[in-house]
Amino acid sequence: MAAQKEDNALTQYLQLYDTEAAEISARSCPVLEKLRKPALKRLRTAALPHKGTPGYEKTDINAMFAPDYGVNTRRMAWDVDLAASFRCDVPNVSTLLAVVANDIFRPTATLENNLPQGVTVCSLDTAARKYPELVGRYLDSIAAEPRFRHTVATDLNNLLMQDGVFIHVAPGVRPERPIQIVNILNATVPLMAVRRVLVVVEDNAAADILLCDHTARPGTDYLINQVTEVYLGRGASANLYDIQEADAGTSRLAENYIYMPHEGASVAFHSFGLRCGNSRSNIQVVMTAPHCTTDLGGMVICTDEERTDIASRVTHAAPHCDSDQMFKYVVDDDARGAFEGAIVVEHGAHHTRAYQNNRNLLASEKARMHTRPQLEIYCDDVSCSHGAATGQLDARALFYMRSRGIPESQARTMLIQAFMMDVVDKISLDGLNSRMRHLVERRLSGESATCAGCNTENLNCK
């Protein structure tokens, strides 16, 4: 491969590591530190995906990483305006809230006081020091499972990551309140936030987790390199909601690895792309034990010059597993949307039921949508399907509404909202459900649809 090409964006980060290695090492605990050497070795001969790389036709990761971003290797902190983060608290749902400022974990007062027995939500760095055995067992070993595609960006994360979030739910514990992690970007110079999220839900435990991305100081360019690893025990279940509500200057590469090696686990992962300049999410799910279920959802609203690219890959490696995927895009203005979703059914994974659906609306002349659903089936006793459609609003429906006196723009908004609703309806948290409806409405009506913007009506300070 074109590993050592001059335009390899990795070079600058490797150089950065070479000069800062001692600093990073001095601040890291052994659990994190032991990831770096093997990652570095692989990165020396690797290159980030570019447009010619299969699966990355519409998103050039190399170009995304090419600008000169700073990395906060020396862990310089800034004061988080916690009030600002509270503003995006979900109404009617009291959450266990934590804030990640760029890539530094900040607990809130409510979090520490309210954590139920058996639930750990803390800084990854702290966790790695306090529970080295536990963190060491899962960190990067989930992503390294051979059925996952361990990406170059994950190695880069291994190399530079110094903190993130650690969520652990002990066996049988099912906290009532959802855990909310608000990621806030705030810097005066272009910054790459290198974050790691590790979620371990033990046997028969359950967790609802909200991950929100915000840009507190627009105008600066940010790059998020986030790796999320999720491990589910026997009979465990997790609902993850990934809400991107950043700024046009923000680029985001999110790698999600969800691993279900024990029977009866279930996961729901819903991604809401409300605003992000340039975003690529890889969602990989591997089910290696029977009777697991996966539910992936995605809702993307892309306007202006935004680029949103989601790639999902659900691997059925055991019999009697179910998976369902539903991704919906609204692409407007000069925006580009891309979706690539794969269902892989391995040999012997009988009685698999796997479905995937991708629906896209093109709302302007210059909007573009690229879709590539895939089925790779190596087993006969399965029921798999995928569907993809790209089109525009039903002209008759629009006419019907206009003939009843609804202005065209409002009718369009209503129809697009209706289009989005089946993804929003998948949200099982009531408060979040209505909040998402509200956000979608504001986003579509062209108002400044930031989470912060909607606090005036629905503010719910605890």
Binding site: P54, H347, G348, H350, N360, L362, A363, S364, E365, K366, A367, R368, M369, H370, T371, R372, P373, Q374, L375, E376, I377, Y378, C379, D380, D381, V382, S383, C384, S385, H386, G387, A388, A389, T390, G391, Q392
Partner: protein
Amino acid sequence: MTDIEDKDIENTPEKVPAAGPDAGTQPKTAAADDSEEVIREVTASDYKYGFVSDVETEVIPTGLSEDVVRLISKKKGEPEWMLDFRLKAYRYWTTLTPPQWAHLEIPEIDFQAISYYAAPVKKEGPKSLDEVDPQILDTFNRLGIPLEEQKALSGMAVDAVMDSVSVKTTHRRALAEKGIIFCPISEAIREYPELVKKYLGSVVSYRDNFYAALNSAVFSDGSFVYIPKGVRCPMELSTYFRINASGTGQFERTLIVADDESYVSYLEGCTAPTRDENQLHAAIVEIVVEEKAEVKYSTVQNWYAGDAQGRGGVYNFVTKRGLCRGNYSKLSWTQVETGSAITWKYPSCILKGDGSVGEFYSVAVTRNRQQADTGTKMIHLGRDTRSTIVSKGISAGHSQNSYRGLVRVAPDADGARNYTQCDSLLLGSDCGAHTFPYIDVMNDTAVVEHEATTSKISEDQLFYCNQRGIPTEEAVGLIVNGYAKEVMNKLPMEFAVEAQKLLSITLEGSIG
């Protein structure tokens, strides 16, 4: 430039040979209740058409170089511009490497170990059917398409290609009356250089891909069809291709031009003899459809697929593409793919004219160790263009069957419409069925839909049939037939019989 005299074989028109299926060889096996058993039997059947006919062939030494390209061109008595075309393609080919992106495991091919030209040795051109080498006639007889019988059958002209040189062309006079040209492409290069020059390489450029470049450099022969303005071709045009001489690749080149408001239905069918050595087949089919014209291109492909262990078999790397150049033109591809060890084939439509229509109907059956990566491309460039894709994959044994298709709607293709449906049926637990559609939409008034399903034969359907006294084996046949029917119905009548037969032979064990 055309220094060659018109001495080529003027084939006397013969009465209408048809793609007659060798009826009456319907296999019948003992009833087996267990569908597993059926599937095993299906997978175990040997290749029916495997034999080597002992026709004298003239083979040039193996290897490819500029000299070989010149030699091929010289042997075929081609004009200078054709040689230039070949050399350009050859030089470009040397800069390329074989494509790797398909879901296929292709053993490395030594392109220098292949002989690029093989022509049956002929004395004088046969003046009638009687003069055709009896061995060749026998070959066709064993294929189940006896020319004698074909004559009696419906109105079809067969341009039978054996190895590389067209041996027999029938029915040309009747076609000539209407101004239709249907002849070997080598002849067309000499007789209609202007037409060939105008269209050759206009749809599939030699720069298109590795195998297209190779074909452009060394293509031996193929068919040329020209339908003049306003003419509706009165019969189905048909060509049988066979690979015959051992170790020779076959590089056909087909060019079909349908001028304004014309219509033609073209049939292509292949069978090839059993062989241990892998044989390379890299053909190009180019179709140009002018305003309000319609071309229907049907293929039944049953090349030797290798034995149960995956030894031998034909590599079928084909570039097929049609250009709907005129407004309201229509191109329809129908294919039934049952043979070949490896298939790499994507018959495509470029819908350039406003209101033009592209269709692709495919049944692909793989078994044993066969691999197929096939599908289509629909490129919507004009306004109000429409395309339909129906692909049915059936995999058995240890085979891998992939659908790969692209639907692209260009920014100016207002009102473009596509519907894609690809279904896969799995027979047996060791096979694979894959779907890789690419959908690129750059116009907000376009509607593109894709649906794909994968499943095995429904237990409920089998049970229903069993319950009504239909043995499992027959039931599987019924269900598979029903499954493929949507595509089979698109084949011309005469061909449909043969296609169904091929399907039944492929899924031997009375399926079908």
